[in-house]
Amino acid sequence: MTYNGLLRYIQGGIGLVLFLALWHVASTTGLFGRIDPEYSLLLLPTPETVLKAIVETFQDGTLWGNVSVSIIRVAIGFGLAVLIGIPLGLGMALSPSCNNFAEPFVRIFSPIPGIAWVPLAILWFGLGDKAAIFIITLGSIFPIVINTVQGVRDVDAHLVDAARMMGAGHLQVLRRVMLPSVIPYLVTGFRIGLGFAWRVVIAAEMVGVPKGIGYMLGVGRSTGRTDITIVTMVTLGVLMLVVEELVFAPLENRTRFWRRSVAV
């Protein structure tokens, strides 16, 4: 490991340890003597309590049970968004009429946060998976559409000319030139879309859709188990970190290396 790499880990580690220490002191001393320590232990349980809660919820299955419910909802909702969003984006970018039809809808609906659909979704689909999937799809489809459109429009016209000059037909241009050019944009669209999907599913689960990560957050509050609420928050953070490191970072490295080095 290089010196800078090592330094990065050491300093990052020191920061985390300091943060945990500060947290511990704050919860045991009543936020540094401002309130009764009895309350502060309830409002802000110590890191050890949270750790115990992690083990507890992990062992009794509530953690994975709820997390898996949310993951499945996001997977289905986001999957639908990808399946609809990419063809729609391609159509909008390649056909002016398709663009004229779809653009007003995209422009009107895309600024509406997915969360704003929660009340209607619950009325339409009831308190269940369908409502959650509906708002996840709506909440994550627009970044995918918009990035697909942008990606196709940014395809270098000279590259298309070069491919045609070498005898490529329409399909070959699409597959060998458009697609590789657009993939980095798709990855960006997916990353933003997935971020939206998570936010939206948690909001929906907090206001009524049963089970899931958001539901667990709410239960933590209403039953006085703030440690469980914090466990859920930590789980969310870790989940996003894992997705970022295992999916998006490698994907970007593989599909973007030529673009990044052009930009720098």
């Binding site: 000279h158 000319d161 070069a162 070498m166 005898g167 060998r176 030529w258 673009r259 052009v262």
Partner: protein, 257 residues
Amino acid sequence: MELVFSNIAKSFKRGAKDRVVALDDISFSVAEGELVCLLGPSGCGKSTLLKMAAGFEFPDTGSVTADGKPVCKPHPDRGMVFQDYALFPWLTVEENIAFGPEMNGTDRREIRERIRRFITLVGLTGFEKAHPHQLSGGMKQRVGIARMLAMSPKVLLMDEPFGALDAFTRMEMQEELTNLWQAAPFTTVFVTHDVEEAVYLADRIAVMTSRPGKLKTIVPVPLSRPRVRTDHDFVQIRNHVLKQYERTQPSAAEYSI
């Protein structure tokens, strides 16, 4: 392959009603195995003419024919080299060169053989697995040339291929192109705004002027290759070409204060 441009005219829309004449009644031909430079200032339509020969653009009136057949779309017979290289940035050097042969269904062994041959020819041995962003401008254009040659075209169309290179790399590339061309004299149309480059490379120079784009004259360059830029004859032809751009009447705008 012989290219014939006959009575080509083209205008572009500017604003609601206004049209700008880009090319005005241009006729000339490029014989089999001849290297013709289209020389002119920017905006004279020389690149547009080249794109018509490639099949990317079309004249309003007149026609471009290749061996008597009108050009109506791009074809691997007419290979083009672009000023900005237009290499596929996600492909390696050899994958870029293989692209053309792959498109017309050349078999694998033949493709491998062509990659090897043209990489050697343009002096890029050792860079087969490099990506375009790892190469210098001159090297990128070598890939552009290798890629074009690998599709075994009958005509080479070069759109200011050395325009983005520094002066020394440009001279080097001009020399190498001359060597390449002498070894296998392709019918070539080379677009440039550099008078010296035109005199160095061309059998004949089509001297174009702008607004509207017109073919002023065609200057033959009867010098043997390799040419020496400081030779008396070379300098004379260069001066003769430069004279074509001297204004006969001073324009009013230039002298108004």
